[in-house]
Amino acid sequence: MVTAQSQPQSKETEQYNVIGTRPIRHDGVDKVTGAAQYGADLNLPGMLAGRVLRSPHAHARIVSIDTSKAEALDGVKAVITNADFPRAADAEIDTGEGTANLRWVLDNVIASDKVLYKGHAVAAVAATDHHIAEDALELIQVEYEVLTPVLDVRDAMVDGSPLLHDSLHTKELDGSSSDNASNTASHLQFTKGDTEEGFAEADVVIEREFETSMAHQGYIEPHNGTAYWRADGTLDVWTSTQGAFVVRDSVAPLLQLSPSQVKVTPMEIGGGFGGKIPVYLEPLAALLSQRTGRPVKLTMNREEVLLATGPTSGTYMRVRMGAKSDGTITAADVHLAFEAGAYPGSPVGAGAMCSLAPYDIPNQKIDGYDVVVNKPKTAAYRAPGAPQAEFATESVLNELAEQIGQDPLEMRLKNASVEGNTTAAGMPFGVIGNVECMTAAQESPHWQSELEGPNRGRGVAQGFWFNIGFESSAYAQVNGDGTIPLVLGSTDIGGTRASIAMQLAETLGISSDDVHPHVVDTNSVGYTQVTGGSRTTFAGGWAAYECAMDIRKQMEQRAAQIWECDAGDVAYGDDAIIRGPADEDGNDRQFSFKELAGQLATSGGHIVGRADVNKTSSGPAFATHIVDVEVDPDTGKVDILRYTAVQDAGTAIHPAYVEGQMQGGVAQGVGMALNEEYFYDDSGDLKNASLLDYRMPTALDLPMIEPIIVEVPNPGHPYGVRGVGEVPIIPPAPAVRAAIASAIGVHMTELPMSPRAILDATVLDED
């Protein structure tokens, strides 16, 4: 058996046997040996290969599609277009991290009357191999009437801008809709106090505008979807997804099937970060399979992933913030305009709610606009909306601190949200670790160190993310040898098989090596929401806890039956010893967990524990990051010299995976800060649809990221879990911006702060 290096548990987790230790993950061996089956690894007898024809235009009306030549090609078994799908109902469906209109979901999967971004699917082919399918795409004749693309969020909002959807009207706060059709899908607003009064009290007021580019999640495994439509009308789907149930509940209505007719098996997933929640290929594979009677596999190449799946929003943002000379922030006015891509549904709402949450500011006004543009429909990306919104607010706060002459961490502490505060969006804070993160950062070796040398600078920033709960299930049977197969519905992206199994083991008082977690299909476990929202260790762990408590209760009952005593007199101890009343001779009676497990089969049968939870509470997450950079003034290149990430994990179930989440979030945040951008030309053509030119940081671009885990247990969870996946992507961009300003005296106003952008703001600045 493989074992992890032993490291001491934290002060907060010393009370536990399993929680706070670092066992080797259950799925580790399969992954490092290549045995794990990812979506593209699936091969079924008689399987056909599918390919998708995609729009060469960012905005065009489809005049006609002629598939006859493709259909006639030897080896081609089926060609489908939007017209082959049943008419979608005008209804909202759950899409994992929100809802969407089914018609728009279908139109995004395969275009109907218009194509709305370059790469938009227009037709799909199934053939005996993918080379033939590719040849067939060239034989499909599509006539387009090319329209003017709308590529900038501000241009899109202007009256008279070309419209993506004639039927789209702006939804206002009061539920009303605009009279005229618009690219602005909705406007939301949160207010608190009176900003005019607040700004009047301020000694310093700073207003800044920011632009950020669309950015990709950067998962390495491309999207895939395989389907087999059986003769009895049931449909099997295999796909790499963050939420098998969301896939089922998207595919079934698109094909007018009952959820009971659709079984979705989640394959191992090579990263998602929010981007593998929507369906793209699965409905196409399903319909192609129906047409051919054979299984059909569709996979995307990297170009398709970048052109046609959901990145996070590009934005235009404006922040005005005022403070007294002692550092008290008196007012903030935040304007956020987010690109939704081709269909409504940017994460502007979440961005708006997060934007000022770390601070108790008496007067706030936050406006958010969800705007459609001729770019791919955005999807969730790690703390959706928050990295952009908090980049704007944290950046202005850093500049205020600089102007006032106050230490930026001191200024944050002075204004920090604490238990009992309520955000402008009406969210009350319970026990949170906001201040604890700030003070841990102050005490860190990094903050205490001196930074010397020319063109070097240090920056800090704070981050906030809600985290969510919702539905999770856990089923576990007790085997005769005391081991437990644990059945889960949550796709394991970040080590959640381990973190959930550890909570089951902790509750039962057994080793996590005796728990064998399995991620199963939608027919084999209770409804489980997506792996997203930093919810899986929180809600999945809660389900595991309740499942274990169910087992404990049944074990007590079984022991009572064996001992012929009252179950109320039997107690399952945290040491996994089941103790009963003394026998007739006065001897103690007890079973170890394994002893009783061994007697289950002969004493009345096996035991299955189960729990289905639906938690509407959550444990908010805060983070404080510190970064040192060096800027090459001749080239504009920024090197990250040192990085420290402080984060409140609540309780760190598996500290190594918590650290991994923190480091991964920083890597992605630094990517957004320095080089990652969707680079469109004026026609709406994405010019960098490859991982060569979409520049994510490599291992050579980052130093070792130093994690500091703070543990302020969440009182709303049996083990104090908060969820850790998302918040670490938020502080990097504003922290790096502050470090650049400290190094070369220039405050950047766009993301990414690429060498080109820095040169334009410095030596090539023509103003």
């Binding site: 290149k637 080089n675 010019k687 060569l692 030119d693 520049r695 050579l700 080109r756």
Partner: protein, 288 residues
């Protein structure tokens, strides 16, 4: 990817014959790190690969008694940077060969392939230019030699005619007191195409003045450029702030780049100057 035929040539003559017979759709295959990707992505119509890397003179390294060097066009990068004599006397080839692709790619990729792919941003070509490289070309009419700076004619295009391919690259011995350096600018520290690159070879006199120099820049024009004005700004003058600044200005003046996702015109022109300056300084350090 379309179906592609493969033929392995055992001699230069056989390769020429196969290429000639194959016509427009025939393409020499060395490491394949560019052409296989192009075939797969259907960006180039290829129906026959003629594998030239089993021809001895196309994959070897020959050091002349006079200090000159000949490298087979398909010799993989790792063999070039692993050759001690090259590292000592032609360190600029190590600069280039260790930047082209990653370690795995360097096991296949070759300088001849880099040259024949004829990308304006090729990380090999500026170094070959400042080393006064000559390309030996074999074809239906026998062999001919072309200076590297005259080889590329446009992005992805070069002087190779029907049935022709590059056999080897030859370099004269660098004179005593020479130093050379290649640098590229990329936004990350790995895995990028050059926004701009530059190479300098120079020889210093005993008094610190520049006896001889060649400067080349890349990714700033349809082909990599030999910048004679930059060399002229150095030769016969002391190597100092003024002469280096004049050479950098000459590179900026020679640069005629495009605006694209990898860099803007202003950025590339600026970087042509920065990299010219840096390669001159570092070549001089190696010369000393």
């Amino acid at each position: 990817m379309q179906a592609v035929k493969y033929a392995r040539a055992e001699s230069v003559e056989e390769a020429v014959r196969l290429l000639q017979e194959g016509g427009e759709g025939a393409r020499p295959l060395a490491g394949g790190t560019d052409v296989i990707v192009q075939a797969r992505e259907r960006t180039r119509d290829i129906d026959l690969f003629v594998d030239i890397k089993h021809i001895p003179e196309v994959v070897d390294i020959r050091h002349g008694a006079d200090g000159s060097l000949t490298i087979g066009a398909a010799t993989p990068c790792y063999q070039i940077y692993g050759d001690d004599a090259i590292a000592e006397r032609f360190p600029i080839l190590v600069d280039s060969c260790s930047l082209i692709g990653g370690t795995a790619i360097q096991g296949r990729a070759s300088l001849g392939g880099n040259l024949c792919n004829s990308s304006p941003a090729a990380d090999g070509i500026p170094s070959l230019i400042v080393l006064e490289g000559q390309v030996e070309i074999a074809g239906p009419n026998g062999r001919r030699t072309v200076p590297v700076e005259d080889f590329c004619t446009a992005p992805g295009r070069n002087v190779l005619g029907s049935g022709e391919f590059a056999v080897s690259l030859s370099f004269p011995a660098p004179a005593e007191g020479s130093g050379s350096r290649f640098l590229r600018f990329i936004p990350r520290n790995e895995m990028d195409i050059a926004v701009t690159n530059a190479a300098t070879q120079l020889r210093l006199n005993g008094d610190g003045s520049v006896a001889w120099a060649r400067v080349a820049i890349g990714a700033v024009a349809p082909t990599p450029l030999l910048v004679s004005d930059a060399a002229d700004a150095l030769v016969g003058r002391p190597l100092n702030e003024d002469s280096i600044a004049a050479a950098a200005a000459a590179s900026r003046a020679a640069a005629n780049p495009i605006d694209d996702m990898r860099g803007s015109i202003r950025q590339r022109v600026h970087l042509a100057g920065v990299l010219t300056e840096r390669t001159i300084r570092q070549a001089a350090e190696r010369a000393a």
